[in-house]
Symmetry: C2
Subunit: 364 residues, 2 copies
DNA sequence: GCGGCGCGTGCAAACGTGTGCCAGAATCCG
DNA sequence: CGGATTCTGGCACACGTTTGCACGCGCCGC
């Protein structure tokens, strides 16, 4: 506050009293803000020249460019991107809204995303959607910062929100959620195919009493995957679905779930498909250590995500590989693409099954 | 480009021809930027009134405030924070520079950090220091965005960089690195104490041939921890240090390391302290599964970090707990603290050992 | 040698906001 | 009812940039 006041007076005074007086005080950087004016003065050129030096392919002679660069270096000048954005109407900010943090693949995702954006001279603003500050709140903040595009992970905008984004010219990209008719780009895996493939894998391995376990029952892509999985199981004459459980996510929940299920009176599954590697590993530990089962002999387990932990020695989990890098590449392209008339678009990236040792080999 | 041009013409024209003409076109939001001028006009007040409505405890009558809010809602107005920052000189942006992403605790850290900052109306800008865009580059970007403070995780500024930050009035907070005489705030655990405590734990359990394994040999806090650990071992008459290895980080590296060490001709350690839970778990799997050793009987293992995986059933790793939340709380306080004359400060958060089952009980 | 042409540079007007200052309105009190 | 006091809203300037426009200068070709 105090500094700001002092500075204002300094500036104003200098302006009114022409600019002679300024020369005496200019070189003392009382406060941060060495501005283009300061370096212009030191270099003996106009502010335009400074600006043009820092604008790629602007018309500036080699001589002045050098003078300006020297002065800038001496003063430690950094162009104020906020002011620049104000006039160019491009903030070079990309917003990321995270709905959930459980999944181990988010670390890799974040790293890749920030690296790739940085390489293209964009910055990443990270927001978490919490109960008290929900998706709409996070988006509102991002709009206030004039983010050029927003990536949503593990959460969905409601249609009104999506609408207000496009009205502001802010592109919206959603990872692995069903976005229906909303004017957003959708980057996801082929969930129906994943469901089918996993089901087929289990059926061919000779499992007969199949189960499926996932988290939030309202997530549409999980629903799509599960439906395809169940349909494939149902289409087989020999096998049937004996378990369809929602609301279990994470190691502890997975471990608890398998114990409850197998102690239950109902039909015991001999294979389960978990919607997350962590859940699958929890189930695996529960089955082996708590119940003494043979995996994959008595129980087959398939996870989802191919987290690093899935390949560790005691687990060696058969799982669905999520191609993080292609997914991020697609997302970045969509985020940075010039706004088109119709923003609605869907990008599907490939994924495959990593066969390890929690599912037995195919029955001959 | 095209839109920007059109808009400029629109604005300029409207101004020159007084403002009557504007009324006819104003309500069609051709492009984003509904500005305070637009809502002022719709509400029939001046721009100042709009500004004051959105400024906490500014002098505005209830009547106009309501008019303004109604107009703002109708137009979907969001104050432009970039312009606001320009004049208030406060961007409400906090930069985070990540040097490395391996550690599983970073996910929790990021979540907590973003949540806590959001709750205080700050935003988080996430940068990764890569070989091509190093710490200095990341900081430069953040300065260009006028970030109010910067948090560095798994990386260190060089003194010149730190200097240039304080000159710009940007606070610098570094997590768990030795920052010497630099004008930065340092948030860390008591590493010497950790080293001592772990050594004592192992000695009291009766282990006699002790080893220590860590990653980057240049990280000073790891050095401090290791030194204290080694000194404590050396002070004991009965035990001695038989292994001091650097450059091993992660599951695979830990597993490989233990195999190499125990097949080596040299003296075989009967207990090791790993500078990361992941390394420790790799070593644990290597010892049990590859070499058939009894842990903790033949080999004691201590990790660092208390990652979720450390508590999983097959591991149940004895490890040093890193108090993430207190650490983040301290960091947030330091980041948001008003700039003081001398920014140099050190905050130490407590940590303790979580005793599980990879170290045997104390010898009686 | 002169008109034109192109390049480099400075001037000034924006971008969307906050806020000190002043004038007018409203309120209160005697 | 009048004067003093508080409140409220508008004007205009400032923040640090970019960029259209115009002008000056050196060079080329006829």
């Amino acid at each position: 506050m105090a500094t700001a006041g002092a500075r204002k007076r300094r500036r104003t005074g200098a302006r009114k009293k022409v600019r002679a007086a300024r020369a005496t005080t200019a070189r003392t950087p009382l406060r941060a803000g060495t501005t283009s004016r300061d370096v212009a003065q030191l270099a003996g050129v106009s502010r335009s020249a400074v600006s043009r030096t820092f604008t790629p392919d602007a018309s500036v002679s080699e001589a002045t460019r050098r003078k300006v660069l020297a002065a800038a270096a001496e003063l430690g000048y950094q162009p104020n991107v906020l002011a620049r954005s104000l006039i160019t109407d491009r903030s070079r900010l990309i917003g990321l809204v995270m709905g959930e943090w459980q999944n181990p693949f988010y670390a890799t995702m974040l790293r890749l995303l920030s690296e790739k954006l940085q390489r293209r001279e964009y910055q990443l603003m990270l927001l978490t959607a919490t109960p008290e500050d929900d998706v709409a709140g996070a988006v509102r903040r991002l709009l206030q910062y004039r983010a050029e595009a927003i990536l949503m992970v593990s959460c969905t905008p409601d249609p009104a929100l999506a609408q207000s984004c496009v009205r502001d010219g802010t592109r919206l990209v959603v990872v692995n959620r069903d976005t229906g008719a909303m004017p957003v780009t959708n980057v996801s895996t082929d969930n129906a195919r994943i469901g089918r493939d996993v089901a087929q894998l289990l059926l061919q391995a000779g499992y007969r009493r199949i189960g499926v376990v996932r988290g939030d029952p309202n997530v549409s892509v999980a629903k799509a995957r599960t439906e395809a999985f169940k349909a494939t199981v149902a289409a087989s004459r020999r096998a049937r679905l004996v378990l369809d459980q929602t609301g279990v996510v994470g190691y502890a929940a997975g471990r608890e779930m398998i114990r409850a299920v197998l102690r239950d009176g109902g039909p015991r599954p001999d294979a389960i498909f978990c919607a997350s590697d962590l859940t699958a590993i929890g189930a695996l530990d529960g089955a082996r250590l708590d119940l003494g089962l043979d995996v994959p002999g008595q129980l087959g387990i398939v996870g989802l995500g191919d987290a690093p932990v899935a390949s560790w020695a005691p687990y060696d989990l058969t799982t669905v590989q999520l191609p993080i890098e292609p997914l991020i590449d697609a997302a970045v392209e969509a985020l940075l693409a010039p706004a088109t008339a119709d923003a609605r678009r869907a990008i599907v990236v490939d994924s495959g099954i990593v066969q390890r040792s929690t599912v037995r080999g195919p029955r001959r």
